[in-house]
């Protein structure tokens, strides 16, 4: 199909889709004027029932925890897919990172290296901090994990791939990521045995406003942090690994 025919076909079908979507949004309440009964109910009961002040956290890891488990496995499967594609692509060949005095490393002084290492440690600690405060601030395992993973980029920018390859171990990250995903599912299985319902909150809730509050919410949050943090770090490593060259490419 040529470009012109394709565009015409798109415009015709887009007009139809747009008509349906516009009809749909015309049936919504005007912006900012309506709250669903479900949201209103959760806002009323979440703090009393689950002892967490961040209601979005309570929804994520408890009231709609089963949905989040599904999303977790989409994440897990995607990362596994990247791992498989990249290992199949150049598997079996020996790969060499750019040498330390290669073009990418020129201009990196000892001060820059030291700063980048410090920054990586700070970013990793920041990620853990954001994840830890899930029940009382807008933090959580997803956000904290994404921050944690970006520590990899700090090391890469400041010290180069060769240094990164020595510090961050792919096999360790891969294992931890899988354990994080498994922990989430196993918490569900354990609660099913303890209380008769999958993912039912059945740990002591703690005091509302304290960091370890919310029972299973806190445990699931930790599992999600490990999975997302290690998963993002692994993804970045896998992509940066593609900058390595085989012996023939190096020549």
């Amino acid at each position: 199909m040529n470009d012109r025919a394709r565009t015409v076909l798109f415009l015709v079908s887009a007009a139809a889709v747009a008509a349906v979507l516009i009809e749909g949004i015309a049936g919504l309440s005007p912006f900012g004027t309506h709250q669903t009964a479900y949201a209103a109910m959760l806002l009323r009961v979440a703090v009393l029932e689950r002892h967490v002040l961040n209601v979005a956290t309570a929804v994520n890891f408890d009231y709609r925890g089963f949905d989040t488990l599904g999303e977790e496995f989409i994440l897990f499967t995607s990362i596994a897919g990247v791992l498989i594609i990249f290992s199949e692509l150049r598997g079996g060949k020996t790969l060499y990172p750019e040498p330390m005095d290669g073009p990418a490393d020129r201009g990196r002084t000892a001060a820059i290296r030291a700063f980048a290492t410090g920054l990586a440690a700070f970013v990793a600690a920041m990620g853990m901090n954001v994840a830890l405060h899930t029940s009382i601030t807008p933090g959580g395992g997803f956000q904290g994990g994404a921050i944690f993973g970006s520590a990899v980029v700090c090391i890469y920018l400041g010290a180069g791939y060769a240094a990164l390859d020595r510090t961050a171990k792919k096999s360790l990250l891969d294992t931890l990521e899988a354990l994080g995903a498994a922990a989430f599912a196993l918490i569900g299985v354990a609660t099913a045995f303890l209380s008769g319902a999958f993912l039912k909150n059945s740990l002591p809730l703690g005091a509302a406003g304290s960091i370890p509050s919310g029972g299973t919410i806190f445990a699931i949050n930790a599992a999600v942090f490990v999975e997302v943090g290690c998963g993002f770090a692994l993804l970045l490593l896998l992509y940066l690994h593609q900058t390595c060259k085989t012996e023939e490419e190096q020549r």
Partner: protein, 120 residues
Amino acid sequence: MSGALLYLPYAVAVWLFLAGAYGLVRSRHLVHSVLCLAVVQSSTYVLLLSIGFLAKAGAPIFNPPQVPPGSRSVDPVVQALTLTDIVVGATVTSLLLAMTIQIHRRKGTVDPHHLRLTRG
């Protein structure tokens, strides 16, 4: 705010969806296609968050005694959905980009017009 303006955020979501789809149809580069898909996906964030918005309300995070539990807040359900959506979207994008790299190594092109149906 009045009249049509009260529906503007929803209209933005529709616009993002259609603009992203247009980009997908006209794409001549797979990386561009992946980014267009990300634009399509971002329409879901805008739609979810604008449905959850409530005028003169705070974040659904209480901080007693200044913000006691039960204060007027925006919808926490759509926020939780958007949160996981963004993180999952990022990893799915990375999978698609990895596929793009694989296609480039195998076929030497990333222009969808030059890719024929792959034979098994």
